[in-house]
């Protein structure tokens, strides 16, 4: 039986959902709350604010795509659902940044891993970044609430062969591993979370908080880019938005001006600081866009005798934090080990190379396992970090600079991954680096890894987690907002998204964003309606 398209049904039943690309005239709107961005932060906030009876408008620059559009095809997904048509990368072009851009934001295309913010991260924020009131105990009920809301539970079905490698390798080496909690209901274990869930099993914002907000009279305007806030003294007066064409690429020329009692930016890392930069919002300590983090990822491939079929099954279900905290919070950089799903187009681009080399690697795809290490950036002063800048057309770009401290983590992670892969029975291992090749034993892998020239472009790097850039801190010299997510200089402006994080999270960030924003919204409501 075909999956009912709940979103289209909602529109048929009278939801206030509007496509800005169709506007023939400029528009002026008046609401209680306008939220820029419909991802984890924006939609979580919208649900609660709508339920409290406030008139809420969500503005989303991406298109609306719903379950009946999701055909599990890479080209359509990448061009329609990802920032800059999957062309988003660090300013130097060395790190591909996978970030969602559609109604539902990155929750529409993430791989569903749902971790609570590690207690060590929260303690570090309190002690080093003057964040107050966000300790483990305070957040605990909010994690619980969002986990229940989004069906987060450790994955019950056996891991696919790609994930199983982490478990098998770690067990053989006596390293820590665990099952990943996922936000799904009725998941069929397909493996296409990154292309939009075709059966509405993933509890993304598209099927949870956005519908709830719309059910309570909220409204959604998509294909509308928040250009800038119009600011007078210490208050935002209006939000100026530009309508985009059907493809979400070019402006149509129509403008939408939104007047609200309170403004919430939820565009995520990179886009939220960009709105503030374009608005020339007061930033006396030059904090906006600074300290943006990526959980920069490196890759290690392995060949197995048995088929792995890394394109099928829940993409992420097993992880290892063995190397994440063992040197302390701010010792040598820690990293989390996970796997990515490997569909052909994605696989071919990260393998690199061309001609016979690429053809050979791709011919082995069904027997290929891939592991990734996510660098826990931002906890040490020597960590790699990025600054958001505006290009001449006002669009943002992240200037992220690798450092020797972070490269050291990349090299250690290559070693850890090769070790686990061989322990799990890999026949051959390949660190994804221009100068590396498949080797059939750990000693050769170790020698090769030690000899690699770890530099940008030669080392394959990626990111799917953009965090920071509008850090929260009670100290205005350290952050853009206070610990309530309220802008230090603008009293009617909040930020509710991952750009608030003073460092990276040290775990896939979606649940951290949900819980934090649910809590911040509750506090905002108390302030707005008493």
């Amino acid at each position: 039986m075909p999956t009912p398209d709940l979103f289209l049904q909602g529109i048929d039943n009278g939801w206030q959902v509007h496509n800005a690309s169709l506007l023939e005239n400029d528009l002026q709107l008046d609401v209680d709350i306008v939220i820029v961005g419909s991802g984890a932060g924006g939609a979580t906030s919208a649900e609660r604010l709508s339920a409290a009876g406030l008139r809420v408008l969500i503005v989303e620059e991406g298109p609306l795509r719903t379950s009946s559009d999701f055909k599990m095809q890479e080209p359509a997904a990448y061009t329609e659902l990802y920032q800059e048509g999957m062309g988003r990368m660090s300013k130097d072009g060395a790190i591909t940044i996978m970030q969602g851009r559609a109604v539902g934001g990155t929750t529409l295309i993430n791989w569903t891993s749902s971790f609570r913010t590690p207690p060590a991260t929260l303690k570090h924020w309190a002690s080093e970044h003057a964040v107050s009131g966000l300790d483990e105990d305070t957040l605990q009920p909010w994690f619980l609430r969002m986990e229940q809301r989004l069906g987060v539970t450790p994955w019950q079905i056996p891991a696919n062969a790609n994930n199983e490698v982490i478990k098998r390798g770690c067990e053989a080496l006596n390293l820590d591993w665990a099952v990943i909690p996922r936000n799904v209901r009725g998941c069929m274990n397909l493996g296409y979370c990154g292309m939009g869930c075709p059966i509405n099993a993933k509890q993304s914002m598209l099927v949870t908080c956005i519908p709830a907000s719309l059910d309570h009279g909220g409204s959604l305007l998509y294909l509308a880019r928040a250009e800038r806030l119009i600011i007078d003294k210490d208050r935002v007066q209006q939000l100026e938005c530009h309508a985009l064409d059907t493809w979400g690429v070019k402006r149509t020329g129509r403008k939408i001006m939104v007047r609200a009692k309170h403004y919430i930016l939820s565009g995520g890392g990179i886009n939220t600081p960009a709105v503030l930069l374009r608005s020339k919002a007061a930033d006396p300590y030059q904090r906006c866009g600074k300290r943006t983090f990526l959980h920069t990822v490196n890759f290690s491939a392995a060949q197995f005798a048995e088929p792995v079929n890394p394109f099928y099954g829940a993409p992420q279900s097993i992880y290892s934090d063995h190397f994440q905290w063992r040197d302390g919070v701010s010792g040598p950089i820690g990293y989390k080990l996970e796997v990515p799903p490997l569909h052909p187009a994605f696989a071919a681009t990260i393998f690199g190379g061309y001609g016979e080399v690429s053809a050979q690697r791709m011919a082995q795809l069904p027997n290929t396992h891939m592991m990734i290490a996510l660098m826990r950036d931002g906890f040490h002063p020597d960590s790699a970090s990025g600054n958001v800048e505006l290009r001449s057309d006002g669009s943002p770009v992240l200037d992220y600079k690798m450092t020797p401290y972070t490269w050291d983590g990349i090299r250690r992670a290559y070693h850890s991954m090769a070790q686990i892969q061989f322990a799990a029975g890999a026949q051959e291992v390949l660190p994804l680096h221009d100068d590396a090749h498949y080797v059939n034993n750990l000693n050769s892998a170790r020698a090769m890894i030690d000899s690699l020239d770890l530099s940008t472009y030669r080392t394959r790097l990626g990111s799917a987690h953009v965090m920071g850039g509008c850090a929260m801190s009670e100290d205005a010299k350290l952050g853009v907002t206070n610990s309530l997510g309220i802008h230090h200089q603008l009293e009617n402006l909040s930020i509710h998204d991952g750009s608030l994080f003073p460092t990276s999270i040290g775990a896939n960030p979606q649940l951290s964003i949900y819980a934090l924003c649910a809590l911040l919204t509750e506090k905002l409501l108390q302030r707005l309606v008493g």
Partner: protein, 181 residues
Amino acid sequence: MPHPANSVEFSRRSFLKLSAASAATLSMLSLSAGLTGCSSEQASNGFSVLRSDDIIFLSALLPVLYSGAVNAQQMRANLQTTLPAIDKNLASLSPSMLQLTLQLFDTLNNPLTRGPLTGIWGAWSKASAADIQDFLKRWQHSRFDLFKMGHNALLQLAMLAHYGQPVAWQHCGYPGPPRLH
């Protein structure tokens, strides 16, 4: 895997003599190409972004990139579907990323920049597979980020488009998405 250090070293050395001047020239030329309207040529018939020169360049480059994955007899037919796939991917890029990509193509197509920067002194359509491999090596091992970035961008563009298509899946043993109903 063979490691052609000698030939790389050779091309690197000969390239370095040119590259200091060339990096500056590259940005100047792509700028002047823009100003004089050279790069404002319309997209080719049936394409939204790719211009006729881009298609000539890609038609020379792609068979080298896909060799081993696509056999010689099927290469022409493959380009018929891959070029539109690349065009579609480019059309969905943000305006600034598209502009960067078109500047890269301008540099590759403009005879004034192509020779010194790529080592391809004649037309792309006349370049041999070995010439194109030399060009790719030269950019991959350049001292300048701009060329390394260009090298990676060309490979990614090509691989993303090719392996996104069902015609490429037999080679990589991908049965395609499951049937749901």
